[in-house]
Every structure is written in structure tokens, then in C-alpha cells.
């Protein structure tokens, strides 16, 4: 009995010494993960995740305090990337949030009274203007976070969906004719229809 105790204690002490040494020798400082998560987040700084900005949300994810499916602007793709980075399973977007098409804020300059409330609300300083002068959104800088919409006392800010123009047009996914067919008995007809042609 005594020998058994001695043996186990001996093993424990030896391992303890090795691990204690390793803990000092291989100490890791900081958490490089936060920056990696932050790099995936879309930086809209919209706060829809319940955190005041993307960095705080990233910190919360890294600490395991927040789910990865709280970012509507990042969309499913963002969740997929986070899941891959963290080795987690993908989950659909949480809550009632739905990803919206990308849009930018637009100020109706005729209605604007120049109150600067939206300027203070904008997390990325994308609104130009001074007190009592009308404001303008710098569209290229706008992340579409909608934080400026609510504070406006005269409701002159609206969100405009970014239209598809020749400058931002993308090639579409070619229809994979054989897989789009839903029911098998119309296969032939459907094949004829989708025969090497894209939709629309």
C-alpha cells in the first residue's frame, strides 16, 4: 500500500516539476485570436450583435462569451468563416435577424436641419457637415450600419440598397443544368429549358 502511494506520488511530483517548468518556458501572452476574429467581422460597427462594435464582439467570441451567429451584416459566409477558424459547427444566424442587401445611408438634404446628431452616431466618421449646416454621407465610407437613422429628429436619413451597376457587376453562377431539376419526371423538359443557359 505504502509503496503504491509512493509510486503514484513520485510520478505526480516528477510530472508536476516538468509541467511547472514548461508553463514558465512556454508561456503565451495575449490572445492572438481576437485580431483574427476581428479580421473576419465586417466592421460595420453596427452593434446588432449586442456589443458596442466589432472588436468587443470579437473579444467576447474569443473568450467564449458570445455565439458566432450574432452578426447579420457578416451573413452566413461570415459565420462559416468563424466556424472554420474556431473549429466549431456552423449555426444559422441567431434571433430574428436576416441578412439584408448591402446598402448605404442617404440624407435628404432638403429636410436636414444640420443638428449633427447623426455625425455623433456614425461609428466611422462617414458623415460630413457642421452644426446648422446640412450633412452629407460619404457613400464610399458608409458601412450601412443604420446607427444614424434612429437619432435623426426629422427622419431625413434613409437606407438605399446599393444597386447593381456596370462597375460593381459580378459574373453569376452558371446553372448546373442536371442538378436544378426538382422532380424527375420532368427531367427531359427541364433539361431542354436550362440547356446551357443561365437563368433570366
Amino acid at each position: 500500500m505504502l509503496s503504491a502511494l509512493l509510486v503514484m506520488a513520485g510520478i505526480a511530483i516528477a510530472l508536476g516539476a516538468v509541467l511547472g517548468y514548461a508553463a514558465i518556458k512556454f508561456r503565451v501572452e495575449g490572445n492572438p485570436l481576437v485580431d483574427k476574429i476581428d479580421a473576419i467581422l465586417p466592421q460595420t460597427q453596427c452593434g446588432q450583435c449586442g456589443f458596442p462594435g466589432c472588436k468587443p464582439y470579437a473579444t467576447a467570441i474569443a473568450a467564449g462569451e458570445a455565439d458566432i451567429n450574432k452578426c447579420p451584416p457578416g451573413g452566413e459566409e461570415g459565420i462559416h468563416k468563424l466556424a472554420e477558424l474556431l473549429g466549431m459547427e456552423f449555426k444559422p444566424l441567431g434571433g430574428n435577424a436576416v441578412p439584408k442587401p448591402k446598402s448605404v445611408a442617404f440624407i435628404d438634404e432638403a429636410t436636414c436641419i444640420g443638428c449633427t446628431l447623426c455625425i455623433q452616431a456614425c461609428p466611422v466618421d462617414a458623415i460630413a457637415g457642421a452644426a446648422k449646416q446640412m450633412h452629407t454621407i460619404i457613400a464610399a465610407e458608409c458601412t450601412g450600419c443604420e446607427l444614424c437613422v434612429a437619432p435623426c429628429p426629422v427622419d431625413c436619413i434613409s437606407m438605399k440598397v446599393i444597386e447593381e451597376k456596370i462597375t460593381n457587376w459580378k459574373w453569376k453562377y452558371p446553372v448546373y443544368a442536371l442538378n436544378t431539376v426538382e422532380t424527375t419526371n420532368v427531367a427531359g423538359a427541364a433539361l431542354q429549358k436550362t440547356n446551357g443557359r443561365a437563368p433570366g
Binding site: L178, V181, E182, T184, A187, G188, G196
Partner: protein, 341 residues
């Protein structure tokens, strides 16, 4: 919208598969000549099973059926599997093997073009592990055994398991030349003694060597028609020859000559028809050489030292596993990335 290019070469998957099927015909003809028409029953049975399993799976997966049945790929799987099963095997053996090959090894992975394993060889491996007895009753070449069954008697046996009175299965069948060689080597007989047995022909097994000639002929047609590239057959047969040659030179009484390895078992069939399956083999030329050489090495090891009579199927499957990595590490240099200077 119409896609460019508007023009394309007149070719199709089903035409390619059809040519492969045609290339199998000379070998099958030789087979029938030497072993009787029972093999045709297996081929038909396998074909019907393959097509109906394919159709059923496509229906379950809600994919169009007609274009995929017409692509001839299921037929090819069926034919290759039927050629690897003893012709006198009971009907359910063929059906189970083919259905497994098509349903599990092919359709579960997404059907044509998606399967990482060669479906026919998966079917064969499942059968030889699950039903080793039935898989070793190979029909003897005609003229070698006293009792021979007529075609109708063969059908009776295949479908109902009924043999004519006073005929036992052992009287009709015998082990394959490779199997016989292995068994007798264990009995401390020399290669020369064993090869004097009647089941051996000029180079390999009597009859089976002629079928191998037929497959070789078909394989050369595939090469000429540019359906397959030379890399896999040459690397496979070459490596097999070299390894067998080395062993043979070291100890000719225990290790049989390289040409025997070529013309027995499924070596020729494998080199031209099984390993060259484009879906489950590497896409780079260097990768093909590695793939085929590895398969040849494994074939020889399993044949000579392993527990199975032939190694082609397992060698194919084992190399199939390695294909993604082989492809990944044998990427050719892209235009403009050739020299680092």
C-alpha cells in the same frame, strides 16, 4: 444568356464510356471461348442491377434519371465487377456486389464524377470479405475437368443453386492460377513444378491468359483512341515487371516470372480498365505514375505475401485513398510560374 465558347468538340461522356465498354469485348469474347457463356449471365445480371440501382438512387436524390442512365458509366462498373466475380457465382452475389458498388460507393458520394473509390472494386472487396467461399469457386477452363455443365444447367445453378445429380461443385470449379500457385508454394513445391500443372498455359493460367490478351488488345485500342493516357498502364505493368523480376532473379524457385504476373489475375484488366478510371485516379501525369507504381507494388505484395488470391482490387482501393494527396503534391508548374528567376 448563351455561354461562350459557342463551339465544342463533338464528344460526350457516354461516348467515352461506350468506347471503354467496346474495348472490353475482345477480352470477354476470349473469356466466353475458354470458360463458356456463364460469364455473359453475370454481365447481364450486373448490368440490370446497376442500371436499376442507379435509377432508384437518382430518383431518391431527385436527380434526372435518363441522362445518367445513358452515360454508360453504371454499365462499365457492372461489367468490371462481373468480370471479377466467378462466373458460376449465385445470382444474389452479383446483385449484392453491384448494388453496393452503385448505391454506396458511387451514388452516396454524389454519383458520376464524385466517387473517390472505384465502385467496381469496392463491390469486389465487399464480396470477397463477406462471401469468401462463393468468391473462390472459379469455373475451370473447358476441357480441363471431366464434368462440364450445359448452359441451362449453369443457369439452374446460378439462379436456383441446383446442380445435376452426382455432380459436386468441386468437380466443376478450381482455384485460380494465382491461388493455386500460392497454395502449392506453401506446400514447399517449386514454381517450376507447380507451373507444370494442367491449369497453367503458356505464360499464365490456361484460358485466363488468353482473356488477358483480349483485354490487352482492348487496352491498346483505348490508348490509340486517346481515351486513357499511357502513364497508368505503363507505370503499372512496368513496376509490376520490375518488382516481380527482382524477386524472380533472386529466387526463381519461389518467385514466379514477371510475365506470369502480367497475364494472370486482373493485372491487365486493372492496368488498362480499372486503375485508369478517370474519376478515382489522379489527374496529373506525375501523379498517375506514382499512383500506378504504388498499385503495382501493393498488387505484388498482396499476391505474394498477403492473404488474398489477387491484389489488384485492394491495391486499387488503397491507392484510391491516396489520390487527393498525390494530386495535391504533384501539381505541375503553371504558365509564368515555371522558373523562380
Amino acid at each position: 444568356m448563351i455561354f461562350t465558347p459557342l463551339i465544342s468538340k463533338p464528344d460526350s461522356v457516354s461516348a467515352i464510356m461506350l468506347k471503354v465498354l467496346l474495348a472490353l469485348l475482345p477480352g470477354i469474347a476470349m473469356y466466353v471461348w475458354y470458360f463458356g457463356p456463364a460469364i455473359l449471365v453475370s454481365i447481364t445480371l450486373a448490368s440490370i442491377t446497376a442500371l436499376s440501382t442507379e435509377a432508384l438512387m437518382l430518383k431518391l436524390r431527385r436527380r434526372p434519371i435518363a441522362p445518367f442512365l445513358k452515360d454508360n458509366s453504371a454499365l462499365l462498373t457492372a461489367w468490371l465487377l462481373a468480370l471479377s466475380i466467378p462466373p458460376l457465382a449465385p445470382w444474389w452475389l452479383v446483385v449484392v456486389g453491384t448494388a453496393f458498388a452503385i448505391a454506396i460507393a458511387k451514388q452516396l458520394y454524389g454519383g458520376l464524377g464524385n466517387n473517390p473509390f472505384n465502385p467496381a472494386m469496392v463491390g469486389y472487396a465487399v464480396l470477397i470479405i463477406s462471401f469468401p467461399m462463393q468468391m473462390t469457386h472459379w469455373l475451370a477452363p473447358q476441357g480441363l475437368v471431366l464434368t462440364e455443365l450445359s448452359f441451362t444447367q449453369q443457369l439452374d445453378y446460378i439462379f436456383q443453386g441446383v446442380l445435376p445429380h452426382s455432380v459436386t461443385l468441386d468437380a466443376l470449379t478450381m482455384a485460380t492460377p494465382l491461388d493455386t500457385l500460392k497454395t502449392h508454394l506453401h506446400l514447399d513445391e517449386s514454381v517450376q513444378q507447380i507451373l507444370n500443372m494442367t491449369i497453367y498455359g503458356q505464360i499464365g493460367g490456361h484460358g485466363s491468359e488468353m482473356a488477358a490478351w483480349g483485354f490487352l488488345f482492348g487496352g491498346l485500342y483505348l490508348l490509340a483512341a486517346r481515351i486513357i493516357s499511357w502513364h497508368i498502364p505503363v507505370a503499372y505493368l512496368g513496376t509490376l515487371f520490375v518488382i516481380a523480376g527482382i524477386f524472380h532473379l533472386v529466387d526463381p524457385t519461389h518467385y514466379v516470372a514477371p510475365l506470369f504476373h502480367w497475364f494472370s489475375g486482373a493485372a491487365i484488366l486493372g492496368a488498362f480498365f480499372i486503375l485508369t478510371d478517370p474519376v478515382s485516379s489522379p489527374t496529373t501525369n506525375k501523379g498517375r505514375l506514382i499512383f500506378a507504381a504504388g498499385a503495382a507494388f501493393l498488387t505484388y505484395m498482396i499476391r505474394t505475401f498477403g492473404g488474398f488470391p489477387d491484389g489488384v482490387a485492394f491495391a486499387t482501393l488503397l491507392m484510391n485513398i491516396s489520390v487527393p494527396l498525390i494530386v495535391l503534391y504533384t501539381q505541375p508548374k503553371v504558365f509564368g510560374k515555371k522558373d523562380k528567376s
